[in-house]
Symmetry: C2
């Protein structure tokens, strides 16, 4: 695929007009929406209004008059259809890590001490495993990590309380079969907890259809809620009234404004709210969900997924053809692929330096240390185009084959991320 081919595909893309809803910098090919989503054009003005009108002018009254108090539930309702959930089942609150802590405690409490093992993958995003380590420590249990996805089924034994997986792996972009693994876990007597950080708004998710138990996820990746945007949490309604989550803040109380001295959990998902919602951050996510409304009118998840797969497939084909020695670590099987492509480079080529050189040329992906070192390129069908794919492949091929990465300004590792 060359740039002309790409432009023909872009012209035929039913989602092409959505790119106009984002404030992307000139001359940049942004392939890191899996890490931090782009900024919708409507967001600055909407947040400005929240600051200057709702806060500065409305002051304390805005908890009611601007609907601040309803934001966690209202945003949850807006997210629900993208997760295969119903309104009233999703809450937007806190961070992904904190929401995971809530649902893992709830899940272990549901197991009533009969089972205390959480099963996950060693390659899971570290925060998930760190939180799980803390939760099993509190329950006198154990975190057991599969070395490969194929090892998971054998770990679903009579000790297993919870199977906790990130649906799409942050390093490899490999997507688990949520329905199958949920069924296997539940057949073994375990509960299924899904981290949708790399799934929400980008791959089809059907939590109710899979009859999963709990899910959490992130607001600032494909959802474009802004840096550090609040996260979300979902619980299957069959667990309503059965669970206890330990972050018992006042806004998870059944009657928060009665100021009772005893904690009484609110029914359903509301129990997962803890403290006062971060209104400005919530407003960013609220605005970003307007773009999803527009996507819904242009084919919804079916169109997003089709475009996402076409973008990643074209990128993989381009790398195969033009970057000698690059190895693709993301499944070529579309059914097992999220919306990113991860690759390693031949021995002797410094992946970190390659990414710095790409960024210097205006192509932004990211680099992940580990074994192997990976370059990750995320594709966000709301704003990425086939032209982005070609520009990404062109730059990568040139940086690697020319040896341009091998310069002190790229190889020096002073930066944090």
């Amino acid at each position: 695929m060359n740039l002309d081919d790409a432009k023909r595909l872009d012209a035929a893309d039913p989602l092409r007009s959505l790119r106009e809803l984002f404030a992307l910098p000139e001359g940049i090919t942004y392939l890191d929406g899996n890490s931090l989503g782009a900024c919708p054009k409507a967001t600055p003005e909407r947040i400005q209004r929240a600051v200057t009108q709702e806060w500065a002018q409305g002051l304390i009254k805005s908890w009611n008059s601007a609907g601040w108090i309803d934001l966690p539930r209202r945003l949850g309702d807006r997210l629900a259809p993208w997760l295969g959930a119903r309104p009233g089942e999703v809450l937007v609150a806190d961070s992904t890590s904190i929401n995971l802590y809530k649902v893992l405690h709830a899940a272990l409490q549901l197991q009533q001490g009969q089972r205390r093992v959480i099963v996950s993958e060693r390659s899971n995003f570290p925060t998930d495993n760190y939180i799980a380590q803390s939760v099993v420590r509190a329950h006198g249990g154990e975190l057991v990590l599969a070395e490969t996805p194929e090892d998971i089924p054998a770990l679903l034994d009579e000790r297993c309380a919870v199977l906790m997986l990130t649906h799409v792996n942050y390093r490899s972009g490999r997507m688990h079969d949520m329905g199958l693994l949920t069924r296997w876990a539940q057949q073994a007597g375990a509960l299924a907890v899904w981290d949708l950080a790399h799934s929400a708004g980008i791959v089809p998710v059907d939590l109710l259809g899979c009859a999963a138990d709990f899910a959490i996820g992130c607001g600032y990746k494909y959802l474009n809620g802004g840096p550090g945007a609040p996260a979300f949490v979902w619980m299957h309604p069959r667990h309503e009234g059965q669970v206890f989550q330990p972050l018992t803040g006042w806004l998870g109380h059944a009657h928060p404004f009665d100021f009772d001295s005893e904690y009484l959990p609110a029914p359903g998902i509301q129990q997962y709210q803890c403290g006062t919602p971060p209104v400005l951050a919530m407003t960013g996510l609220d605005t970003a969900l307007d773009v999803y409304d527009a996507a819904q009118q242009r084919g919804g998840m079916r169109a997003l997924r089709a475009k996402s797969l076409a973008l990643t497939e074209a990128f993989i084909a381009g790398v195969d053809a033009r970057v000698p020695g690059a190895e693709i670590h993301t499944p070529r099987d579309a059914a097992a692929r999220g919306s990113q492509v991860s690759l390693s480079l031949p021995e002797g080529v410094d992946g970190y330096a390659v990414m710095q050189a790409l960024i210097a040329r205006g192509v932004i992906g990211d680099f992940r240390a580990g074994v192997p070192e990976l370059l990750r390129f995320g594709f966000a069908p709301l704003y990425n185009s086939f032209a982005d794919v070609v520009q990404g492949v062109d730059a990568l091929a040139d940086v690697v084959t020319s040896g341009a990465w091998n310069a002190p300004e790229f190889t020096s590792r002073a930066k944090v991320t």
Copy 2:
């Protein structure tokens, strides 16, 4: 004090110019900064820049180039001097409730199961007692609540692991003697945990001087960080390396960007960070702290406290003189008073309706149900004036004595807060 007297006092106020740094609505007397602080004039533009430049243009690079990754520590360093703490000891993160959960678990873990009782007050802000209930449940302990402040010392026995108090009570505005109670708690073998929600930036706090153990507090009250702004957490450096807090998210790891599979807590306060910081909300608090820099140049906490006490004293005197039957529930003793005045009205006068009628006249305080029902008026010396005191007293006296509150638009309780 009449309006002319007030204007003379305002003209002599060394802090008077700070009011100009806030975007207060025309015609409003805002006496609820203890609940939600006012918006600094610089905030809209600063947040706008964070959205349009740092996020939209800088994208993922801004974690380094805009210093996002350092915000939790940098804001903590800015707050530290207002808390009697040193740079490096304070972290800005999550919500007050969540930070309290972290430090209570850390404190109970320090007690190594020898002591499992948390002592607090029944009149503490509910979220504190709810979180404490959850933490003692996890440790097999008990929450014991003093009915009055005078009952506290007797509860500091050999079972007491932690004395957890809000320094300034949210209902009464009564301020505890932090030094004395910390000493008593520690002499009894307990640890002292202080909630500074109604203290930070408004009354003198000397955490190191008192040798307190842990403290947490809120960013959106007197600190003016914006609705739902992130909270803060402090730990005495003597506990460094001794504690475990269970919200073990990746950014509390000693080497978060190594993506290790085992959790290794960062040294010191950094361990209390959990997930990704909410950048836009942090930016609001960062901007608000610039106003504190300006206050520092005009006499700092000494000047703020002197004005705060003068404002609350003048308000109390006005209510005594002009609101028949009103009872002041805030200590008249300046040493025991925070920066709010809480009062109840005579039997038969509906406090809720009185507050609605005041709001309709442009005087905003708040109403708290309970026994007794209280009207609360907060005084923020950064922007409140003596003229505000007179306007507040005038409106309250008129609404109560005229019976204007007794109209359906004020007595109807459809609103949430």
